[in-house]
Symmetry: C2
Subunit: 334 residues, 2 copies
DNA sequence: ATGAAAGCGCTAACAT
DNA sequence: ATGTTAGCGCTTTCAT
């Protein structure tokens, strides 16, 4: 038994004995107070606080089969996009009396399976995933057992899992179309690794769906170092594009800095468009024009979906959230 | 009982029956495989995977008294400082086979007590706090029961709890001293709310410890909006300071933008010094000089401390991590 | 309205 | 090396 310090934690029996009732009665005041006589209830409740009694979640779980927490798997916390999502998710979950436990998995599908496994072992009642690309084993894990699982950060109403998110294809298309309407005909696209990230792939498809543009593709890590590499390559070009569409704000902000450092003015000499709408994006100089991805709303929607699923058995319907063009100062009309 | 889909989850007894051994043997191959004959072990293991058996964490916890997860309470995830800390913490914890569950509490001490309570209810084996200011009830909760609790984000070897962190007083002092050595004699200090944040208070004390400076204090929310207000106030001054020391990078980055927007050059017209060293800080234009707070190392140290405490009973010693001056481009020597 | 008692899935003595 | 069995702290019938 786990004892902390000297006095071991009081349990149901201790309370029952001290209050002069049976354990069943104590359990009742905990779970259905109305079924207990007011006086009895009052006495039990006061004994509970006297003894600082706290029901054991484990013992509860073993009986009720409910742990009241769900797990989320995200690539990283080191990215405001996921952090915002998770904080909105946690808030909504709390409305349903559900706790959230977060695991980070990098971009490693194997690790994801493993962490999903431990989350389920731990007792998670549902899983919330990011993106569409997952190890098949993950689906074995969740699909076969019909384990409540939700995919986020993308929208696809024909996916094997319910999805809640924005359409990455459309988001990128929206950006490039805007660039086109602003008069740009030759642009660069800066994006992260395609191989390991399905959302990036979807965005590139969106870019390609816009006709009548000359487009150079630059792939690098989504990091400031990656941006540096891309900037160097763009700067070295003989026929330089008039704008660069970044598939991530981090890349855009990095480019902003690198261009200015090379005495290229943004947007006079070259335009930069981001994607994500990180908190910082509005506060760079010049302020970044970007595609806003509704991650807060996504977190709230995911929380509600899971809450309804677990508490009322309503299986979630796919939900599509619209990305939005945010015009600030980093793109010029030409 | 919780059953998912049709076939209820296999349990120890099912495995034992199917493998033709006793439940104890199955339990043994799970917990001390070496004590089981190789053949028996092999048979049991194969039955385990056939039946997709997964031990129930709750049942385990109830017996062993161990849940193998710890809780962390942070103000917010919407701040790279905490996100970095947590990801390092989680990594280190994983080395000890410990999982991390994160709760966000804003700047609300009441909420902190409440969330701490639910974490403990849930079965957390230890708690990791941020900062020094907590509701007394929190200490009742943890101190009286000698619940393993660690405080981070500040250092104080005489605190009631073991602390792992940097000295906020020294960090601020370091910054202002640098400004002084660079020739600045009249500076502004931009900081967040003092009332609700003990770390901010400590930093201000550090600022005040430097003599021979004229210092204007500007308090605002730690946000870009807050920075905007502070920038307006500084800009409106007749006798303008030559530098502003920000107690947070968010404030510094906001100021950078606001100053440039008002056609004030940084650092030629006014210097800006940050604190935190957010990932973005190196990639603003001009790049931000700042005080680096070793949050990654702090996360690792905290993870190790908790791991050693829980796994080997070694109570952690306070640990002091040094803040570090990072010279980039936003401060001029005059 | 309350109590007695049977488990839940597992671990840990204790036997063999 | 393996089995038997008594719990762990709680919820939940089923009686009363």
């Amino acid at each position: 038994m786990r004892k902390i310090g000297n006095q071991k934690r009081a349990n149901l029996r201790d309370v029952a004995k001290a209050a002069g009732v049976s354990v069943a009665t104590v359990s009742r005041v905990l779970n259905s107070p109305d079924s207990v006589a007011p006086e009895t209830r009052a006495k039990v409740q006061s004994t509970i606080s006297e003894l600082r009694f706290m029901p054991s979640a484990a013992a509860r779980a073993i009986n009720s089969g409910r742990t009241r927490f769900v797990g989320a798997l995200v690539p990283t916390l080191d990215n405001a996009i996921f952090a915002s999502f998770l904080s909105a998710l946690e808030n909504k979950l709390n409305d349903y009396g559900l706790a959230l436990i977060v695991s980070t998995i990098g971009e490693n599908p194997q690790l994801e399976v493993q962490k999903a496994q431990s989350l389920i072992n731990l007792g998670a009642e549902a899983l919330i995933l990011s993106g569409a690309a997952h190890d098949p084993k993950l689906f074995q894990l969740t699909n076969q057992t019909r384990f409540p699982t939700l995919a986020t950060s993308f929208y696809d109403d024909s996916a094997p899992l319910p999805t809640i998110g924005y359409d990455n294809h459309d988001a990128a298309q929206l950006g490039v179309q805007y660039l086109k309407s602003a008069g740009h005909r030759h642009i660069a696209v800066a994006h992260g690794p395609v191989e390991t990230n399905d959302r990036t792939q979807a965005r590139i498809n969106g870019v390609q769906s816009v006709s009548g543009m000359t487009i150079d593709y630059h792939e690098a890590d989504i990091s400031f170092e990656g941006a540096q590499v891309i900037a160097r390559n763009i700067l070295a070009q003989k026929d330089r594009p008039t704008a660069v569409a970044c598939m991530s704000d981090v890349l855009a902000i990095g480019l902003l800095q690198q261009f200015q450092r090379s005495h290229l003015r943004v947007p006079e000499d070259i335009s930069v468009l981001g994607m994500d709408d990180l908190p910082f994006a509005a506060h760079t100089f010049p302020a970044l024009s970007t595609i806003h991805l509704p991650v807060k709303r996504m977190g709230t929607a995911a929380g509600r979906a899971i809450g309804e699923w677990l508490e009322h058995g309503n299986e979630p319907a796919p939900e599509r959230l619209e990305p939005q063009l945010i015009l600030r100062e980093s793109v010029a009309e030409i």
